[in-house]
């Protein structure tokens, strides 16, 4: 039987041995451990927290931020088994094919492989999320009884579908720790160490191999873990923090010979009330306004720029949702009257709705994590986040929304008002997806990426990174199910190299 061990009971000075160390018990780390269940590998998974929230452990996330407004660093993540799946919204959607491609208008774009490479693992990833029947963009075939998809006709935006994670017999998203604890315990060669914080990645003198991991508990125990290979799966901020702070052998930090670790941090801005949508026929089908159960899946429809539109218009990815009903001001009423009068449209039942959006940001090396001089309770330097969002990213989403306005008029079904114009408008409306990405970006060239196509850290033989920190570009899809596909692919790779 596998075991859950309270690291606070491990005597200081102990040296643990394993074939594989997984640092982090969030969805990525847990999924890799589950995927290796049938292998002969002895795996140790370190989780900073326990089975439930603990304020003192959570405080290890505290860091500072400069630049554009952003969330406090400790707000986006939860530090106990299951990680941030303990408070996620359960939104799932695959990345698009174009998200993997180099695009002339998007600097630093291009993954080392195409979408097909992770599609092989998507079904399993979706299954781990318990997101029901695999429908996504086939949902329309099964949702007919609930109403019509908006007939936008030819143009840039199309209806596409989210699916939602759910625990069995509940509508709550899957909390990976609680949900998979029993399965982890059934894995004979797996040990899960709770309350165990990785505080140093110890390179050997060649700097080309990880020799050991230093582990500490908030109760003062310190011990080491030696393994043939190590996967860091701690989230985009903590992964970068650990790699940068492990600077005793390589002064710039582990895997940071090219000054890339911590750069390219990203999240999905989710500005509220980006636009006002008027539908001449009244309310849209219910699957636009909230989650609906269709053919064994919980789904919601959104409006997305098509891949063809993105290519033709240098558009970034976006997901646009129809949110609350809203009222029109005098100008809005006049605009509706003018349009329906001039175009000869019956809009007696028209209704207005606020639109939310999730937007992709352009990769930016100066949006980054660095180390503070301030230290946490384990003497680790705290993280500093420099946040920046470019005006061009706002302008691109605005252009996409404008195209939606055009399509609505063309289809004679509605019209649109763009609510955000100035940079301050956008910042005032800003919310975030809490999707930390990018700080250990993947690229075949070590000068452009921290990890290679196999998620191995360039220049280090036995160190890997799992999670959305490896995303070179970000798309607009919710990252969890996609990072799980990558993690499962990594597990498959490790089965081969650690045989």
């Amino acid at each position: 039987m596998g075991q859950f061990i309270d690291a606070r009971n491990v005597p200081s000075g102990t040296v643990l041995q394993a074939d594989l160390a997984i640092l982090g018990g969030g969805p990525a780390g847990i999924s890799i451990a589950l995927a290796l269940a049938g292998s002969p590998l002895k795996v140790v998974l370190l989780e900073s927290g326990g089975m439930t929230f603990d304020a003192r452990t959570q405080a290890l996330y505290v860091g500072s931020k400069v630049g554009d407004p952003y969330l406090t660093l400790e707000a986006s993540r939860l530090r106990f088994l299951g990680g941030s799946s303990n408070h996620w919204g359960g939104w799932c959607r695959p990345l698009d094919k174009i998200d993997f491609e180099p695009r002339a208008w998007m600097p630093y774009s291009g993954w080392p492989f195409g979408k097909r490479e992770i599609d092989r693992f998507f079904v399993k990833a979706h299954s781990l999320c318990e997101a029901g029947t695999l429908l996504y963009d086939k949902t329309e075939k099964f949702a007919g009884g609930m109403g019509r998809v908006l007939p936008l006709g030819h143009g840039g935006l199309i209806t596409r579908w989210f699916q939602f994670s759910k625990t069995r017999d509940s509508n709550l998203p899957t909390h990976f720790g609680e949900r998979y604890a029993d399965e982890l315990k059934r894995i004979g060669r797996l040990s899960v160490l709770l309350h165990a914080n990785a505080t140093r990645i110890g390179l050997d003198a060649s700097r080309a191999r990880v020799e050991e991991i230093d582990v500490a508990t908030l109760s003062g125990r310190r011990f080491r873990l030696r393994s043939a290979a190590t996967v860091i799966a701690m989230g985009a901020i903590e992964t970068a923090r650990l790699m940068l702070a492990s600077n005793d052998v390589a002064p710039a930090g582990v895997g940071n010979a090219n000054d890339l670790v911590g750069r390219f941090f990203a999240d999905h801005p989710t500005p509220r009330d980006t636009a006002t949508l008027v539908l001449f026929g009244g309310r849209p089908a219910p699957f636009y306004l909230g989650n609906q159960t269709v053919h064994g899946a919980i789904v919601r429809a959104g409006l997305f720029p098509s891949e063809a539109f993105r290519r033709a218009n240098a558009a970034t990815a976006a997901s646009i949702t129809i949110d609350d009903k809203t009222d029109l001001d005098d100008l809005g009423k006049a605009a509706v009257a003018a349009v329906v009068g001039a175009m000869g449209i019956d809009a007696a039942d028209h209704a207005a709705f606020s639109l939310g959006a999730g937007m992709e940001v352009t990769p930016d090396p100066d949006r980054r994590i660095t180390l503070d001089t301030d230290r946490d309770a384990l003497s680790m330097p705290r993280a500093v986040l420099r946040m920046r969002i470019s005006d061009s990213d706002f302008a691109r989403l605005r252009q996409t929304l404008k195209e939606l306005g055009r399509q609505l008029l063309q289809a004679r079904i509605g019209m649109l008002k763009l609510n955000l114009r100035t940079r301050q408008d956008w910042l005032d409306a800003m919310d975030w997806g809490n999707h930390h990405m990018g700080t250990t970006r993947m690229h075949a060239d070590p000068r452009q990426g921290v990890v290679d196509a196999n998620l191995k850290v360039h220049g280090i033989a036995n160190l890997y990174v799992a999670g959305s920190s490896v995303f070179p570009t970000y798309g607009a899809a919710n990252p969890t199910v996609n990072l799980l596909s990558l993690a499962l692919r990594l597990a498959d790779h490790l089965k081969g190299v650690l045989r």
Binding site: L331, A334, A335, A338, A342, G405, R406, Q410, L416, R421
Partner: protein
């Protein structure tokens, strides 16, 4: 009761005036717009006052708006087509403008802007 011929004429005349006022009241009470060089275009608008309000927001975002040139271009663009057909063509070919954030067919937005110009 005897009504003199003079009183009868006065009563008939007064009744005629009242009927005339009643019939044409709508026109008498309607806001008068000063004649403008674009009236042939502005008659296409259903509610010129409200549309002028929209037009102000179009003008606020237009860098160079020469009403005479715009009007000439609109006359050529619209030709003898119904306005609804012109607007459908505009949006099909991506010709839209913003009015206080509202995405409008270009021709409608420009007509509204002319209505606003005609008020100034």
């Amino acid at each position: 009761m005897n009504i003199s011929r003079r009183d009868g004429i006065i009563a008939t005349g007064a009744a005629a005036v009242l009927i005339g006022v009643g019939v044409s009241g709508h026109y008498l009470l309607r806001k008068r717009h000063a004649p403008s060089p674009y009236d042939d275009l502005l008659t296409l608008l259903e509610d010129r006052d409200a549309d002028a309000q929209i037009g102000e927001t179009v003008l606020a975002e237009a860098e160079d708006f020469d009403p005479k040139t715009i009007a000439d271009n609109l006359r050529a663009h619209i030709g003898k087509r119904p306005l609804a057909a012109v607007l459908a063509s505009d949006v099909a070919y991506g010709r839209v403008v913003e009015a206080g954030g509202w995405v409008l067919p270009q021709t409608l937005g420009l007509l509204c802007a002319l209505a606003a110009k005609a008020e100034t």
